[in-house]
């Protein structure tokens, strides 16, 4: 076997954008490659600007003397009520967490309802009540909102959008580009619960389980980490597309490689077993109350200890590190000593029979 130069991986993606689908397909909402292409080839050309170019969970803006984080998220989950929460919880925690991922203190949310004609008022009332409770628990106020109604048959009951603003403390500069070789990769707890909870009640796939969604506001956990050091490099909440997608996005944004140790990634046994049953990989399953952090090596142990003191960080674990090799790519060492590349999914992950 002759010595071969390492494979050049930089050109390995479809060169022609969106060429195989003139219409939106479900995969475009999956958070994977298709979603990214929609942004890069359709949206950015339309309204690119320096602030947007960061493509972080939330944008950090300087207005007057204040640094504000600003974010928006839409919620189209089915079913509306699932084990562990509802669309109302997600609508608050999703945006609160996006703001917290910039190190911001979330303060105000807007909330827009798009309701399908014929939806039961009781349903809307219940969602609003849960939304209100979630806002209180997260320490934010719904400051403004909007309601629209669409014809029956043109919506799926209830869609929500929330946007939020928060204050970023001085000395805090948290964004994906800051990941640096040598940084330690930490996850705040066990992964995969939200996605599996949703699947467990989805038609055609339903199964019994005690797994519930982990939806939760992460502000307190982030504050505990910032109390150790304001120099956290990256925070990201791995929602749709799972941990794998978030790590890939960070690796690409920062131009670093990420090496994981598979056995260190905490997964609840029931989640692992549900994934085994359906042929899914927990690395790609959505979370709604977890974060992954890139922490400078010298602060890692202290940050980890602080996380474990917090109710939402009891199972926090170091799962890998940022490296100079294979920039933009995430790899994992398997339990048997082999290596596998953890790629970005194309669209949504599907159950398989093989």
């Amino acid at each position: 076997m002759a010595d071969q130069p390492p494979l050049d991986i930089t050109g390995w993606s479809c060169p022609l954008p969106l060429r195989d689908s003139p219409t939106i397909v479900m995969g475009h909402g999956g958070g994977g490659q298709l979603s990214a292409e929609l942004v890069e080839h359709l949206f950015l050309p339309a309204f690119a600007n320096p602030t947007l170019a960061g493509l972080a969970d939330s944008a950090v803006l300087t207005i007057g003397g204040a640094r504000l984080a600003f974010s928006t998220d839409s919620f189209v989950v089915r079913p509306l009520f699932f084990p562990g929460g509802s669309i109302g919880d997600l609508a608050v925690n999703g945006t609160v967490n996006d703001l917290a991922m910039s190190g911001a203190r979330p303060m105000y949310l807007s909330c827009a309802f798009i309701l399908e004609e014929g939806t039961e008022l009781a349903t809307v009332g219940r969602i609003a009540a849960e939304l209100g409770k979630a806002a209180e628990a997260a320490g934010v106020q719904i400051a403004t909102g909007d309601t629209k109604v669409v014809d029956a048959g043109h919506g799926d009951g209830v869609y929500l959008n929330t946007a939020g603003i928060g204050l970023v403390p001085a000395g805090v500069d948290i964004r994906p580009q800051r990941a640096t070789p040598g940084d330690v990769v930490v996850v705040s707890g066990e992964i995969g619960s939200h996605g599996i909870a949703i699947l467990s009640v989805r038609e055609g796939l339903e199964f019994g389980t005690a797994i519930v969604s982990d939806t939760a506001p992460l502000t307190g956990l982030v504050n505990a980490m910032l109390a150790v050091t304001t120099d956290l490099h990256v925070l990201r909440d791995p929602t749709r597309g799972g941990l794998a997608t978030s790590l890939n996005e960070i690796a690409r944004a920062a131009g670093v490689g990420i090496d994981l140790v598979e056995s260190s990634v905490p997964v609840p046994p029931a989640v692992a077993n549900a994934c085994g049953l359906l042929g899914l990989d927990p690395m790609y399953v959505a979370n709604e109350g977890k974060l992954v952090a890139m922490v400078p090596r010298e602060s890692a142990d202290e940050v980890l200890a602080a996380m474990r003191e917090h109710p939402l960080g009891r199972s926090a674990s170091i799962i890998g590190e940022c490296v100079e090799e294979h920039p933009g790519m995430v790899t994992a060492r398997t339990t048997f000593g082999g290596t596998r590349v953890i790629d970005v999914p194309v669209g949504e992950q599907l159950p398989r029979i093989c």
Binding site: A210, I211, N273, G276, I353
Partner: protein, 106 residues
Amino acid sequence: MCLAVPGKVISIWDQDQTRMATVDFGGVQKTVCLEFVPDIAIGDYTVVHVGFALQRLDEASALATLALFRELGELDLEFGDAWQRAAAEAGASPHKQDRGGTTEVA
């Protein structure tokens, strides 16, 4: 093909004269059709593919297989060094045994 996963039968019932079960996969329960494993009982483990139990898992066989794996290492520990030494002295590579002509399939 064949993503089939082992699970434990925890209850059995009849649906439209078809034998069905709730099978537990370590914290995940699924309704499974038992028509292909008529002798299976509550507490048994079965391998399940797309909602159907295909075989009862034979615990004795599983334990025997695992014991065999464990023995592999132990045999080496017990005898390995002596064999290697003897083989090295004889100038042959260790663990190679003469088993007669090997047929290469083109």
